[in-house]
């Protein structure tokens, strides 16, 4: 049998404390985390452009979520609340521009046709990143939540803290700006 160390004792103490202050059990958290961690991490990376910062914000997002004293009416409500925390954290770290231009993701490909397809996809992503980089942080968040996460206007408005009525117009403008930037990117 493994010897119980001081670290183990401390760990037990910390978990006891956590059970009192966190809004869900560790088991429930694990399930929720498995469902949400990847989308949240991708969102944070895309919004901050910094892997390390995204990792820190991921930890902070879940910490704030666990300590939130909110009664969730549904799984969607819980997930939206998580993204709302992430969005607020991103907006608090607006100092950096959007993202580093990723290395062209043309990995080893089996043949020329696949290589051409991969190159085309990588070029499209690069154009998208460059265009998104030129948008305002709030516009990026709106577009991502609407068109990468599929959220409704109400959900996005709630997450970024604007009125639903204004949301439609703001999203429309952001989308038009992105499309225009993408077109300019193609031309250049």
């Amino acid at each position: 049998m493994r010897e119980i160390t001081l670290t183990d004792m401390e760990r037990l103490g910390a978990f006891d404390e956590a059970e009192r202050t966190f809004q869900m059990t560790e088991e429930a958290f694990r399930s929720f985390y498995e469902l949400t961690a990847r989308p949240v991490r991708v969102y944070l990376v895309r919004m901050t452009g910094d892997d390390r910062l995204a990792d820190d914000l991921l930890q902070e997002t879940y910490y704030r979520f666990l300590r939130a004293n909110v009664a969730f009416s549904s799984d969607d409500h819980r997930r939206n609340y998580l993204f709302r925390i992430a969005t607020n954290l991103v907006h608090d770290h607006r100092r950096k521009p959007f993202m580093e231009v990723p290395a062209a993701a043309i990995a080893e490909v089996p043949d020329a046709a696949a290589a051409a397809q991969a190159a085309e996809r990588a070029a499209r992503r690069l154009d998208l990143h460059r265009a998104m980089e030129r948008l305002k942080p709030r516009e990026r968040s709106m577009l991502w939540l609407a068109y990468a996460q599929g959220w409704s206007h109400e959900e996005i408005a709630s997450a970024i803290g604007v009125k639903t009525a204004s949301m439609k117009a703001m999203l429309h403008r952001a989308r038009q700006r992105l499309v225009a930037l993408l077109k300019n990117g193609e031309r250049s």
């Binding site: 910390a14 966190f22 991921l58 666990l66 439609k168």
Partner: protein, 170 residues
């Protein structure tokens, strides 16, 4: 329908995010998008972002749930400890302030009595000591000792308090 959106936009987004766009979704939706500028833009943007998410998800590495939970638990514990210690720190501060105040009040009350005490000592000294010079020297010495004693007492109380506040984390 407002100038800003089309009621079928969400259907387009759902079809794209569900991987059904454009081949495996309602033909009428595809036909509608071909003639609706708003839906066409939505489809374009959504496809690009969806592709980006798909690509990013392949590479994304997230910490284990247990690690996130453990770190959060440790942090929660630390914050709880700090929160619990905060009233104690305030109590210590208030106690220190009361002690200093009481001491100052005592010194203020006693201070006017010192010359009187000195003259009493001098009078007694005249009766018992051989000369008035010796008596006044003794009184002067006593006054100096009292002053040094007061300063030492103040330092004895203030130094630990100052050290406590300087060295305490919170």
């Amino acid at each position: 329908m407002s100038a800003y959106d089309c009621p079928r936009e969400q259907d387009v987004v759902n079809a794209v995010l569900g991987g059904r766009w454009p081949d495996r979704c309602d033909e009428s939706l595809v036909a509608h998008a071909a003639s609706c500028l708003s839906c066409r833009e939505v489809a374009q943007v959504s496809m690009l972002l969806h592709e980006d998410v798909d690509h990013a998800r392949i590479d994304v590495i997230v910490p284990a749930a247990g690690q996130i939970w453990w770190r959060a638990a440790v942090r929660a514990r630390l914050e709880s400890t700090h929160a619990a210690a905060r009233p104690m720190t305030w109590m210590h501060g208030i106690t220190g302030a009361i002690v200093i105040g009481a001491m100052l009040a005592l010194v203020t009350a006693v201070w006017p009595m010192i010359p009187e005490l000195m003259s009493t000592i001098r009078t007694i000294g005249k009766d018992y000591l051989p000369s008035s010079e010796v008596a006044s020297a003794l009184a002067g010495g006593l006054r100096q000792s009292l002053l040094i004693g007061s300063i030492a007492a103040v330092l004895l109380i203030l130094t630990p308090l100052a050290l406590y506040f300087v060295l305490s984390d919170d």
